[in-house]
């Protein structure tokens, strides 16, 4: 097991390196730092001196890959690729355009993101599985039919409408919770409630319908017929046999998403003004803060790889047929 995890972690290195090369190419080769400087400074204030100053402030004034002017190891290390891209592997992200340390900002913002995303994730999972199992139990009846109809209708509505509708109805009309904002401690509960609830509702249609399909797929298998034939009640069959086996495909999609709880919902956070990583990313995109966007790309990829690893490990826990070798 340990050997397997170690090997998978080693396998992650070339992937992260690939991600780094892609972002490096995107940010520094397709468009040179000069272009970025021009865009940031605006057309009016572009002078060669202003561009040079902008680049120097951010450390973009070095050669891209190979610094012929430096001595020794400096030939490699005093370059943009080394300082801006490779340094991310030790979580040194440099500074954002407003001068703040990105790594520190990320640590600070993880909390609020998790506070909203974690409850939404687990409550949602519970609700989706409950409903999907219910629909599978009442399969081929009106309950199932209308359940699927509602699911399809629900998944046809953009998540932004759920957010806007929820904010309007609960925050503005009924004044139950504040429309947006965040605070620490127990007080945070008031701010978390609505975004979390909307996160759950927004994912209802697609997830419930998908899980229902997983359950139906399991139900059509021979071992379920055997279980029924030996006299088990339908409820026992569903909970003891179908639910357990259907958890395998459900886990595939779910576990890989767990690390992303750190980032939280991009749209949700920015609509509700939650100072998490999601809104940090959106703000960076809007203000065209390239350093922050690059850091978030790196973090996102890292989390995805962790998610893949977790998925593989969780397989061994739920499915005895899978052996990690």
């Amino acid at each position: 097991m340990t050997a397997y995890i170690l090997r998978r972690l080693l396998y992650a290195v070339p992937i992260l390196l690939g991600v780094n090369v892609i972002t490096f190419a995107l940010f520094f080769l397709v468009n040179t730092p000069d272009d970025m400087a021009r865009m940031q400074l605006g057309a009016k204030r572009v002078t060669p001196e202003a561009i040079a100053k902008w680049k120097q402030e951010r450390g973009y004034d070095k050669p891209l890959l190979y610094n012929a002017g430096a001595a020794g190891a400096g030939k490699i290390t005093h370059t943009i690729f080394f300082e801006k891209s490779l340094r991310m592997f030790v979580f040194d992200f440099g500074r954002a355009d407003d001068g703040r340390d990105i790594a520190r900002e990320i640590r600070l913002r993880m909390g609020p993101s998790l506070a909203v995303a974690v409850p939404a994730f687990f409550v949602g999972l519970l609700i989706y599985i409950t409903f999907a199992l219910g629909f599978a139990f009442f399969r081929a009846t009106y309950i199932d039919f209308w359940g699927v109809v509602i699911c399809v209708a629900a998944m046809s509505i953009s998540s932004m409408f759920y957010i806007i509708g929820g904010q309007y109805l609960i925050g503005k009309l009924w004044h139950l919770v504040p429309i947006s904002g965040f605070s620490g401690g127990l007080d945070a509960l008031r701010f978390i409630l609505l975004p979390a609830a909307i996160g759950v509702i927004g994912g209802f249609g697609a997830s419930t319908r998908m899980y229902r399909t997983f359950f139906l797929e399991e139900i059509s298998k021979d071992y379920v017929r055997t279980a029924r034939a030996k006299g088990l009640s339908e409820v026992t069959v569903l909970f003891r046999h179908v639910l357990k086996n259907a958890m395998i495909p459900i886990l595939t999609g779910v576990v890989v998403a767990i690390p992303f709880l750190f980032i939280g919902g991009l749209i949700t956070e920015s609509f509700f003004g939650i100072p998490g990583l999601g809104s940090y990313t959106i703000d960076a995109i809007n203000s065209q803060d390239f350093a922050v966007v690059r850091s978030m790309v790196f973090i996102g990829s890292l989390l995805y790889i962790v998610g893949l690893l977790l998925t593989d490990i969780s397989y061994t826990l739920v499915d005895p047929r899978v052996r990690l070798a």
Partner: protein, 491 residues
């Protein structure tokens, strides 16, 4: 010529897509084994209703895909011919009245007065603060407070009657088609349609068309005099914006999969078929691309694209061409982030197929690789491609709205549901609330996405052998329990 034809990049691709669809239809018509699953799609009630709705949207989208630049009028006949920098489409011509009638600022749906109070001069020279009359909405009324409701009701009724008449024409047309197809008298076919016992669920399709004709007729009749969905901040008709947004949504939903298809097919099949280091390399590429969160990769790429566009203004003679290139680029980058899923599916399928006896036999006969792939593997994975294309559509339409909100979607000057929502979102805090832009975007988007979802489900039910097994299971129990539920509604 009074105009200059402009073919934007996405227009070319739209035409290409239409060509591919027509060619496929012709090809499939001649092959019984290919027609069979499509016949199952045609028998699905919800699927055909979805298709009917989609077709209405597609017509609007296609009209909006023929662009031109009108010639500028000049008094001097010898003057050099100059064309407007504004690129219009055929849809703009159809909607010319809607486009031209700009109010000053917000006005509610079917309103006769502006949303905000203004200081206006009264005939006797004094000033008063009141809601001024609209320039176009209900301008024909003498006393809007008294006459408005009656006028709206009259216009709507007239529109409904007109719509119903058009619908009747549709009904007769379809009845004639059914009659010709099955060789019965048209009266008999009409009765069959009415009772709903035709193989293709024409009954449901006709009902859908009725809703569209009646609502459409009323809207057209009202739009001639009022702003049916109100106006936005700069006084533009919201109905016009919503109709213009359809093309953007359709382009994103279809072209994205179209541009990624060649890569996904080539790489997916190559990885599965050849295996070995080719498989490793391709897997590495898609794992790497996949591990970058989609929104961030799109954001990074679009930001870079914007830098490029801003740096090279000389390449784009009109604003529409610039916006169009950004749309195309968005399609490409969305394709890059979403092709990995299809690629993995194709790899798995190719891996399975190459072990089958008939392909082993082909190997033994010395058939070359490219021939095995094109003759044996490719036709057998096409169902995956088709299902993916239709299933991705609705997700992409929804994604566009989110991306436009984040600021990395389509050009802000381009009409799209995303930009509509984004602009309307800021008006939620106003008192009284400006709700109509949001509602219009909501209605159009939900209709489009729901129709696409229903159609996609029907296609998947018909083509995916795995799903077919499940729906067979529910269908069997259903018959046993005697519940009368539409089979197609059970994905």
């Amino acid at each position: 010529m009074p105009f200059q034809v402009v073919v934007l990049w996405t227009d070319w691709l739209v035409y290409l897509l239409v060509l591919v669809i027509v060619a496929t239809t012709v090809y499939v018509r001649g092959k019984e084994h290919l027609r069979a699953p499509w016949r199952r799609v045609a028998q699905s009630r919800s699927g055909m209703v979805g298709l009917a709705v989609l077709l209405v949207f597609v017509v609007a989208g296609l009209l909006d895909s023929v662009h031109f630049r009108p010639r500028l009028q000049s008094g001097d006949p010898n003057a050099k011919v100059a064309y407007s920098i504004e690129v219009l489409s055929v849809l703009d011509l159809v909607l010319a009245p809607l486009r031209a009638r700009r109010e000053k600022t917000y006005s509610a749906p079917l309103a006769t007065r502006l949303y905000a109070k203004e200081t206006i001069e009264l005939p006797d020279g004094s000033q008063a603060r009141e809601f001024p009359r609209l320039k176009y909405g209900g301008a024909q009324l003498e006393d809007p407070e008294r006459d408005r409701d009656g006028d709206i009701a009259r216009a709507a009724l007239g529109g409904v009657a007109g719509g119903a008449a058009v619908w009747l024409l549709f009904g007769l047309l379809i009845a004639a088609m059914v009659a010709r197809g099955s060789g019965v008298h048209i009266k008999h076919a009409w009765n069959q349609l009415w009772r709903g016992d035709t193989e293709v669920p024409w009954h449901a399709i006709l009902l859908t068309l009725l809703v569209f004709c009646v609502l459409g007729g009323a809207t057209i009749a009202l739009a001639a005099k009022y702003h049916v969905f109100g106006t936005d901040k700069v006084g533009q008709d919201v109905l016009y914006q919503a109709l213009k947004s359809i093309r953007t949504a359709l382009v994103i939903g279809t072209l994205t999969t179209l541009v990624m298809l060649p890569f996904a097919l080539a790489l997916g099949i190559a990885a599965g078929y050849f295996g070995g280091w080719i498989d490793d390399a391709i897997q590495y590429v898609y794992t790497t691309l996949n591990s970058i969160p989609g929104v961030l990769l799109i954001a990074a790429a679009v930001l870079m694209m914007q830098v490029y566009i801003d740096g090279h203004p000389e390449l784009f003679p009109t604003a529409a061409q610039r916006a169009d290139l950004r749309l195309l680029f968005l399609c490409i980058i969305l394709g890059v982030t979403s092709w990995t899923g299809l690629c993995r599916l194709l790899r798995g399928e190719a891996l399975k197929l190459k072990e089958l006896e008939y392909i082993q036999a082909a190997h033994a006969f010395g058939v070359r690789h490219h021939r095995i792939i094109s003759r044996h593997i490719l036709p057998n994975v096409m169902y995956i491609v088709l299902i993916t294309v239709v299933m991705e559509f609705s997700g992409l339409v929804l994604a566009e709205a989110v991306l436009s909100y984040v600021g990395v979607g389509v050009d802000p000057s381009m009409h799209s549901f995303g930009t509509m929502i984004n602009n309307a979102r800021l008006e939620m805090a106003r008192e009284p609330m400006v709700w109509w832009s949001l509602s219009a975007a909501f209605v159009f988007m939900v209709t489009l996405v729901l129709a696409a979802n229903l159609f996609a489900d029907a296609v998947r039910d018909a083509f995916d052998p795995r799903v077919r097994m499940i729906s067979a299971l529910t269908a069997k129990t259903r018959r046993r329990e005697g519940a009368k539920v539409s089979q197609s509604a059970n994905p």
